[in-house]
Amino acid sequence: MTTSMLGEPIARREDPRLLTGQGRYLDDIGHRALAAAFVRSPHAHARIVDVDVTEALDVDGLVAIYTHDDLEGRVGEPLPLLIPHEALTHGRTPYALAKDEVNHVGEAVVMVVATDRYVAEDACERIRVRYDFLPPVVGIEAARDAALLVHDDVPGNVSAHLVQENGDARSAIDAAPNVLELDLAIERSASTPLEGRGVHARWDADDHSLRVYTSTQASTSVRAALAAKLGLPPDRVEVIAPDVGGGFGVKIMHPWPEEVLVPWAAIRLGREVKWTEDRREHFVSATHERGQLQHVRVGFDDEGRLLGLDVTVWHDNGAYTPYGIIVPIITTTQLLGPYKPGAYRAEFFSLYTNTVTVTPYRGAGRPQGCFAMERTMDAIAEHLGVDRTVVRERNFIQPDEMPFDHGLTFQDGRPLIYDSGDYPATLEKIKKLVGWDDFAAFRSEARAAGRRVGIGIGCYVEGTGVGPYEGGFVKVETDGTVVVATGLTTQGQGHQTVFAQVVAAELGVPIERVAVTTGDTRRFGYAVGTFASRAAVMSGNAIAIAARKVRDKALRVAGEALEADARDLEIVDGTVRVVGSPPGAPGTSIPLATVAVLANPLRYAFDREAERATQFGGPVDVSKPPVAEGDSPGLEETGYYSPPRSTFANGMHAAIVETDPDTAEISILRYCVVHDCGTLINPRIVEGQIHGGVAQGVGGALYERMVYDDAGQLLNASFMDFLMPYSTEVPVVETDHQQTPSPLNPLGIKGAGEAGVIPVSAVIASAVSDAEGFAVTRMPISPSDLHELRLRHSSEGGPAR
């Protein structure tokens, strides 16, 4: 029996392996490798005066100590600025080991290699680094005030300043009958995958080749970066992402200092070297995100329709800008959500601070933008005394206005044009799911019982599946197994399941026969990476294209064997057969495995299948070459998908919260999601993505913040004090799907990876504001924060609901 596997909610094929401890993560590799550890800066801002390693030299088991002075050639140069932009006028990147100056606590200064990590840490402890302390710049206000500078040669601490405008927003606002201004803030957070970073390198001196395992979201790009840094031909460098225990963006940042230094040391020492990041290192030396101040000025008519929107964002980019200014660009473009803003002006300042560098974390600037827009929508509704969903609906882009051009440039450098979406339909679904219209009755009932409840809503549009491209390779082996490879990596998303579903559907084979490899440059060399909700869109379509090519060839070869027209053939359950022929009728079908044999004419027979494929194995037309001109042996094809621009998914979330009048505890009573990512490959996996995203969103809304003191010390660099929510803190997520296929790709799909996280802070802020009767403008919000807000608002004589 063959049904189309597309759209089937099948269970994740990788789970039995991962859940029974059979996963192979970075630290499971290379038990005999030397261990690296790093001396990291204890200061947020300082000049390095002297590094004294004398005491460490006696440590038994020490192999090497490196400082910046040891880094020759390009390894000693600053790390690459991965995504340059003309507005990034003052981009700065760190050295692999700090050269003269450190700019955040945790910056690597000295590398130690030893027989094991214990010994390496012993040696680290004995290395004395003398610093000249410099006053640090901590927090966006301090960076903006620019009384102190992070980098001497960066005036105002501004790495980038960008204005995008469509129409004359300021004039439109000035002329509007209603004008509101909002000051908003989102604090710092981070991806914090359960597996930190890690890299293992092995140099083969005879083969002159380097193999690197790294816990990355972009193995092909790591390969290119390492080849460039180490002066090796890319062909001599293999980079493999083993099982990766979560990424959420932090592992798209590459190459990390350690990712360059470990292979460099492996070559220099002629030994395997491994570095496995520990949790404290991850907090202070991997990257963070969120962290913005925003000012919104909006003009609107008496119905609540936007006439002009003017947004200024101060974005904390941390100490360096290796990943460019992707995050604030996304904030200021994706802020628009499903709405027509009237005239729009967005300006951002990306600012240096003496804190950990900021690069994309799941959502990648969208949660901040969504927060700004949705807080604005609520403010308009409050100002006009109109229901919050009504104001939103009045501003929606309508389905018949698609494709909709915002007149701006998106993060991929291409026009911000929405391809499809039905926002009114999504709103109807979310209102129904959460029971929006029945909430007033519930509130009255709760109030009578002395309880305080509120409802909130948030809408977003997410550009997914950014280019430039991905590729897929599909091959039918002579035993009927289908081998699939794509270059982008997997961090637990379920690619072994969804990509196999695509191949099973396109090729007509049982999914059990399909094996998928990702993120291994030995299997597929051309790729971009897994980020920006792009894997299903990009590799899914590329693999579909490759599978269709394999199918065409299989039908052609089978047609020759069956003496049938390829157009009369189909592939069902791994067998090519004449359409409409009775099962088992002689001469009407041929297993795909046999077709694979026939597609590869052999000289040597090594088993029975091969024997039939040899030059003497059967009747042949001796007038023709065994492989026709322009053809190639085997049943394998490569396909690429490169989209004209991003495809835009959307969704709406709603939550009902309860706030304790005495303790200010905030409980999420219900959390509802309606999500539209076009055609679903696997609804179960999409729901899993949504659940995980909401969990991280709840973390960002109620729990997680990076707390720096004035000296630039991260005060909560552990899971004891950085409050990632447990399962006990994450609400049950109720979901419904809307499917508006994308016209931009063969499968009609849109990305789903980040969707769950985007509007959560906006939704919870909306609901808490509704419960409390004052506007929440800063997230996350803790019970203590809510308590202090209550005191402030009651002393200001504000209403209490």
Binding site: R117, R280, D721, T728, S784, H787, L791
Partner: protein, 297 residues
Amino acid sequence: MKPSGFAYHRPSTVAEAVDVLAEVSPAGKVLAGGQSLVPMLNMRLAAPAHLVDVNRLTELAYVRVDDDGGRRTVVVGALARHTDVEHDAAAHAALPLLREALRTVAHPTIRNRGTTVGSIAHADPSGEMGAVLALLGGTVELRSARGTRTVAAAEFTTGPMETSAAPDELVTSVAFPVPEGRTGTAWTELARRNGDYAVCGVGVLVRLGDDHRVVAARAVYVSMGPVPTVLDLTEPVAGQDPRADDDGWAAAGRLAAWRLDPDDDIHATAGYRRQLAAVLTERALRTAARRATEVAV
């Protein structure tokens, strides 16, 4: 996050253990469940030269209820895991506060390994079991090669992570006195996440007279100061009959909030902690008083 080198000792009797501690003093550190010590070692916040693992001292793996002429005590040996205390039927029957408080000590996996005595000896100001011991006026038994001594809870904990135990002493047991008469207890706390250290935790004890009127009310707090703080809250509720009167509980909560002096930290302001102290004290007192009325004497 790998510890510095240390010499590892694994004695199999208490006598051996105290000999080792005497020998290596003051460089020895006792390892029981390791739920606090091992992370501290890994982060190199502690680097003792000698680690004395007491996990083979099975003679200390007990929870028992002693009865000395009607004065009952729950005695917990140094190798009793939190979970052993939590699930001990006799201990629960005698002193239900133990189980109630233990359920707020981290998560079950940690309670399966961590020991109640170890937690008290660690003297973290957010540790629930040290607070319960202080509330009940319990004692700590210490042994060394020099002999055995018993210290009152209030004298044992001298500061955050500081106790009056000498470097060569092993805490062998703690004793929780069972309150007599018409007494009710309650534990309540608010943590940022399920199982986290409390932002504010309150344990209370309310004693009623034969006429069901309050004769004593006492509370202890965690995360509200450097050591568990015991407050006498009798005055606002004295003479109140929990079955009829309702005025004093909130006043007692306000009194507690006024007398406590918590700090700001990254999770809460001092003002919020005081607010919690007031609210949680009131709630806990009501619960304990109701329970006291249900005691059959």
